[in-house]
Each structure stands twice: as C-alpha cells, then as structure tokens.
C-alpha cells in the first residue's frame, strides 16, 4: 500500500440529506499524473477534503503518501500541495507577501521555483491579491503549490479562469518539473481535454462512486464501439459488452474489453459487423455516466436513447 500516493477504501461522506461520497476506493500510483474526473457535484471535492484531513469521513479509511488519513494529518499536509477550488487567499496581501507568508510552513520550499514560475506564469507580484483577475488569482495559488517541494500536488479545478496559453505553460511545468521528477500530480476536474492530455491514469467518479479507474492508454486500447446489423442479435454471454442503442436491425454496443472477440462472436451468429471503433475519453465518460444514471435492469431502450446513436 506504501507504493501508492493515495489509497482509500470504501470512503463515505454523508452531509445532511446527501451521500456526497459513496464507498470510494481509490488507488493512485506514485509518480503519475492522475485525472480525477466527474461532473459538478459528483463528489470530487468532498473526496479530496477527506483525504487531506479537511473533512472527517463518515466511513472508510485511506492513506496519503503512506500516512493514515485523519490520524497523521500533519505529515500529509507537510508533503502535499493543495490548490482548492475556491482559490481564495488573504486579499490585502500581494503575491510577493503571500510567498513570504507561506514559505515558512514548508521545509522544502524553493525560492528558485518562485522566481522561475512567477516569470513563466507572468504573475504581477506586487498587486494586492483582491485586485487581481480570476486568472491571476489562480496563477498565484498554482505558484504557491509548485514552490512547496511537495511529493504530491493536488489540484481542484486548476484551470479556473486561465487562458489556453497559460494552461499550456502550466501543463509543461507539471510534466517537466513534477511528473518528470517522479512526483505525483492529482488533478480533479470536469474539463476533460486538459486532463486527458497529460494524465496517464484516470479515475471517473459519479454520484460519489468510482465508475472506472485505470491507465488511460489501457482504457483507450480496450474500450470500443461495435456496430452491427442482424436479426435476433444475442443478449450475449459477454459481460463486457453493453447494448447501448438499437434501431431496427442495427445495434450499437459499448465493449469494455476483448472487442475483437465479441465482434467475431457476433459474426458467428450471423450478424454483419460494420465497425469496431476506438473511443475517446470524452465518449467513454459520457457513455459511462449516462449508463450509471439511467441503467436499471431491463431498460436497455432508455440507455439507447441517452447514449447518442449515430446510425
């Protein structure tokens, strides 16, 4: 368990009237860029707050960098940089003053990093934080996180207010100076594209539950759309294939694994397999989330309506 940057087992967070996190088990390897993806309100922020000791889990347990969540909070916070969703800091201090204020808390703080990143991110260091634009406030938060010398960097919606050029600069910093040095990045976001670019692992969360967690390239190698035509097509014994749309003789399946074997089986049963196509992360995300939200046993037809069909 120690080789994992983040590990959790059946983490639950109940707020009055809401089960925000519902039995979440995460396995985040060290030294990876991990994308924690989900819709607004899926439970991403609640999960992060529990892992960092900022909220108490209702049930479940976990470790961060090998330290026990809840019991070893100081050890976790010393080694973890965290940029929260709100991006709020003391408004009357300038970024330069915020740096001076923050550096004392972190033994591995790097002033050299401050110089480098404040230049790369083009941060106005002498304007009060409250007078900065949303984008510049975000950049100050990123600067403080990047300069802590942390082993784990946790970002909650890091791209808030940033223009594409700054996002690109930020991604380069993460790749070269953080993941490239064997440190771990955990990015929580509902913006798939930036995360899809640098993440090598992803976890998809919806309604507080983990839908999928795997190496991104493995997901892309395995998930396939299979479209086929034929009468009486089987409700097969392929647990990894889901019928997502049907129109007349035409069927569209989402296959999570062994798509070629599934297509061969369809052919054997007399179907014409038109295509086995790769899926982008966006398509996988939409299909899984919609299935999770609509799927009750026996209503395949409704899923069919939900997952876009392009026959």
């Amino acid at each position: 368990m120690n080789e994992l940057a983040i590990w959790s087992e059946k983490l639950v967070k109940v707020y009055p009237g809401v089960r925000a996190v519902d039995g979440l088990s995460l396995n985040v390897p060290r030294g990876v860029a991990y994308g924690f993806l989900g819709r607004n309100g899926a439970g991403k922020t609640s999960t992060i707050r529990m892992l960092l000791g900022l909220a108490k889990p209702t049930e479940g347990r976990g470790t961060v960098l090998g330290f026990s969540v809840g019991r070893e909070q100081v050890a976790i916070l010393e080694r973890t940089a965290y940029v929260s969703e709100s991006k709020a800091l003391y408004g009357n201090l300038t970024p330069r003053e915020l740096v001076r204020f923050t550096r004392g808390f972190y033994p591995k703080w790097s002033d050299q990093a401050v110089r480098k990143y404040s230049q790369l991110l083009e941060i106005p260091m002498d304007r009060p934080f409250a007078k900065l634009s949303q984008g510049n406030r975000t950049k100050v938060c990123l600067l403080l996180a990047l300069s802590q010398g942390a082993d784990l960097l946790v970002f909650d919606e890091p791209a808030t207010g940033l223009d594409p050029v700054v996002v690109d600069v930020f991604l380069r910093i993460l790749v070269e100076d953080v993941v490239g040095e064997g440190r771990t990045v955990f990015i929580s976001s509902h913006q798939l594209s930036d995360v899809e670019q640098i993440a090598d692992w992803v976890g998809l969360i919806d309604h507080g539950r983990l839908l999928l967690e795997a190496r991104l390239d493995d997901i892309k190698s395995q998930f396939r759309w299979v479209t086929a035509a034929g009468t009486d097509l089987p409700q097969t014994n392929f647990p990894e294939a889901l019928l997502v749309a049907a129109e007349g003789n035409f069927h569209k399946y989402l296959v999570k694994k062994d798509a070629e074997a599934f297509a061969a089986e369809l052919s054997r049963q007399g179907a014409t397999v038109a295509e086995v196509t790769p899926m982008s992360l966006r398509e996988i995300f939409l299909a899984l989330v919609r299935m999770e939200e609509q799927c009750t046993p026996g209503n395949v037809g409704e899923i069919a309506a939900a997952v876009s069909s392009s026959f």
């Binding site: 860029a33 790749v175 993941v179 390239d217 899926m279 398509e283």
Partner: protein
C-alpha cells in the same frame, strides 16, 4: 525530431508516438544511430506524461527499433526490424484487411488496389534514395 500527438483521439498516445517514430524510420528521416530526445524533453514538448513517453520508448526498444545506452540516451537501432517473419505478417495483417475492405467498398478492382499499394512502396523507396544521396553529399 518533431512528433505530434492528439490526446483527444481514441488511439492511445503511446501508440501514436510509436507509429510516428516507425514511420520516420521507414521513410529514412531517422537513420540508425540518430539520437532521440530524452523522455523528459519529449514529454515536456508534447505536454504529456513522462510515463507515456517512457512506455512508447520501452515498446520500441523491445521491438528492436530503438536502443538505450548506459546513461539513458536513446538511439535508433542498427537493425531496426528483428522479429520473426510470422510476427511481422501478424502485425501487418489488420492494415491489409483494412485496405481490402475499403478498396472493395469504393468499387476498386483488386488490380487497382494492388497498384495503389505498389505506388506507395515506390514513393517510400524514392524518398529513401533521395535521403541516401543527400547523406552521401553531406558527408
């Protein structure tokens, strides 16, 4: 070496890298002994995880396309393709099938399809010869 990856496509990013490196080698743009950028440099340039680039390099090395020397630098290997014939055929078959299906779909007859493939082979050879000439001239 300039590579381009499209992370939003359904093709795994490490495969995109592998395909482009193989293509550059097949076309003679990369020749045995050429150095490749370090994992970290290429990852930073492409804004993708270093782990993804490392995986592509490892695969290419396992396939005998690249070799990494002590100290970590990576080069194009001397005898790029070294698998058994049967393995090479196995790898190419899906592409051959795709050409057959697409060609038939487009109502081209078998002779026309074969001709197209031949033209592509000729074009590759021509590029190879030209790069060869260029190298002889510059040396």
């Amino acid at each position: 070496m300039l590579l381009h990856v499209n992370p939003a496509s359904g093709v795994p990013t490490y495969l995109q890298i592998e395909t482009q490196v193989k293509h550059y080698i097949a076309a003679g743009a990369l020749v045995p002994g050429d150095a490749l950028p370090s994992v970290r440099k290429l990852a930073a340039d492409l804004r993708i995880s270093t782990n993804t680039v490392a995986r592509a390099y490892q695969d290419l090395e396992r396939d005998g396309v690249l070799r990494t020397v002590q100290g970590g630098r990576t080069y194009v290997a001397e005898n790029p393709v070294s698998f058994l014939k049967s393995e090479r055929v196995r790898r190419l078959r899906p592409y051959a099938r795709q050409i057959a299906v697409e060609g038939t779909q487009l109502r081209l007859d078998p002779r026309e399809i074969m001709e197209l493939v031949q033209q592509e082979l000729d074009a590759l050879e021509e590029v190879n010869e030209r790069t060869g000439d260029l190298e002889r001239k510059t040396r």
